[in-house]
Symmetry: C2
Subunit: 356 residues, 2 copies
């Protein structure tokens, strides 16, 4: 196995496809009331997910989503060779507590809201290299834990500027594997197979940290747009493609303001992404009625939208090839209070429809 795309680029092309065996999503109530509400596997009416703290709630959310993804692939935890997971919290406690009980070899990631891209990127590399038959990738976020972690506890009732985004309470998880998902008429059928169609990862572009000097932690879209621009331009260059080679390019959570900056920055590089660009943060809420300002955000935003709304359409063949580009803003309350800027990062994953 010798992967394509030579050194000097930031991309890898897999010569053997990495199959997405299953995908699962669980969200909170607000996400359930949005335009994609019917597509999520589960919507919890209890924001505490049956626990006593917001952090335990997010751990439960991520673990349940991971369990669901494993179950949908017709597998059990011992079948999973390794897990790549992360979240937004300090020391990624949502992941280390949630998935701890599953007894699976564990790689903890921190990529801010780009985590699902980072997890899929590493997961696809390990499967393509033959290191594991089944690998789990998961990410989560929770509105209440994120507000507490990065801004103010909810009880303060602080106001949010129009440039701010709303952290999604949600989690998405995928099982990647070296063999196609099992057809529906067989035992342990996987829902990620529609007739003979399924979704495969065929390449990745690894993100670089990009710092434009933005310091506004309430305008994350602005902070992350330069990183999205860098990764998308790199992907097109490395694979020798134009935006027309993708049916859609999904960024993670740029929101309205970040989207405009991304499109402007790409225009300066003579790349017109208008016709194919979508943003998970703009898909998950109805901004007219749900008052989320610039859109949705958080690791769980792109992860749950991918699992619920994007992957099934690729398996069905609605889209033949898409680029999934979750975007992360690398800040902490410490770095913010010390006056540091907010670097961004974006990891891109090429996902294609495949007939078996």
């Amino acid at each position: 196995m010798k992967p394509g795309i030579p050194a000097g680029t930031a991309s890898i092309e897999f010569l053997q496809p990495v199959y997405i065996e299953s995908a699962a999503s669980i969200t909170g109530q607000k996400e359930g009331q949005g335009p994609l509400g019917n597509l999520f596997d589960m919507v919890s009416e209890d924001p505490l997910f049956g626990t006593k703290t917001w952090e335990a709630a997010e751990s439960t959310l991520q673990k349940e989503t991971a369990s669901l993804a494993i179950g949908k692939a017709g597998l059990t935890a011992p079948d999973i060779r390794m897990v790549f997971a992360g979240d937004l919290l300090a020391q990624t406690i949502a992941s280390s507590f949630g998935i701890a009980e599953m007894d699976i070899p564990y790689y903890g990631l921190y990529g801010a809201c780009s985590t699902m891209g980072e997890a899929l990127s590493l997961g696809a590399m390990t499967v393509a290299a033959g290191y594991g038959e089944h690998v789990l990738c998961a990410a989560s976020s929770h509105f209440a834990t994120a507000e507490k972690e990065f801004r103010f506890p909810l009880g303060y009732g602080n106001q949010r500027p129009l440039s701010s985004t709303w952290t999604v309470t949600g989690s998405g998880a995928c099982v990647l594997g070296s063999k196609p998902p099992v057809p529906e008429d067989q035992k342990h059928a996987s829902p990620m197979r529609y007739k003979n169609g399924c979704a495969v990862i065929t390449g990745i572009t690894i993100g670089k940290l990009v710092d434009f000097g933005f310091k506004d932690s309430l305008n994350m879209g602005g902070c992350m747009a330069p990183a999205a621009c860098s990764t998308i331009a790199q992907n097109l260059s490395d694979f020798g493609r134009t935006p027309k080679d993708y049916d859609a390019v999904f960024t993670g959570d740029l929101g309205m303001i970040g989207q405009q900056i991304l499109l402007d920055l790409l225009s300066e590089k003579n790349i017109d992404l208008h016709s194919v660009h979508q943003d998970c943060g703009l898909m998950i809420y109805d901004n007219e009625t749900q008052d989320t300002h610039s859109g949705g955000s958080g690791c769980g935003c792109s992860a749950s939208v991918l699992a619920a709304a994007i992957l099934p359409e690729i398996a069905r063949g609605t889209w033949k090839r898409i680029l999934f580009v979750p975007t992360g803003a690398m800040l902490s309350k410490v770095s913010y209070n010390e006056g540091e800027s907010v670097p961004g990062i974006a990891h891109a994953v090429v996902i294609e429809h495949s007939e078996i």
Copy 2:
């Protein structure tokens, strides 16, 4: 390339060796005054590393160590295909700010003090699979950032129990590659080659999260020992080895108390590690004179000891095969204050002497 050790285990054996092309270490003054002081590449007398905040100090420390490792391999940043890095801080800001400026495709990790093991584990997999000719792995910690992040700001002058460990101000970085380091008599010679000897990674055992229910954040050794036990036992079982097959087994930062618990737990499994066990946290300080209580800790502890004291001896042939097992305690001040336990994780890397 079909890696060894079948599914169902937690280990991978590389059929083609992954070379350690270079290793670099930078520490603070206290570490420089310890038994390994002469072995570190640089010892900074300024704990702020020329910056204005502890966090910026750690970022600078990690970036300088990474640059040094790249330089020692006779390379420049654009030669590095990807970097795996992490630290202890919330949202891993030491890594995302330090390495951001290097413009290298970046995977951010969070594995607490096991981070160097996690980075080497992922780095070795990517090199062995042919995804990159040169891959950088780095981790750092800083006494002042860690005290502020997990316990109290230094100005409070709070007292430390005898079970506590002292977070190392230090960073270690390695460049992994698919080809042997260049001999000394050639241009761009690498110091990780001694005559024909060098150090290679031949296998990994991926850690699982292990939670024994310990809740004492000032006894990290106790919290992490069960994870070290789990990973070491798994490694011996997966590779069909006994402790005698290793010249030394280095845990990361169990300290005195954690070491005793580890040896006891392994004894219960009929594994006698006494004769080969060493702990980086016990190697880096002289406990008689430096008053660090249970020993040293932090991502930078095992990373700097590996780079300065372990790898050169493997390249020289003093040790033929060792197991490097950095140990991490997965806690945050939030999870601690909410009464949660402290799960541990340990990632093991098999490193062997090789003649070219």
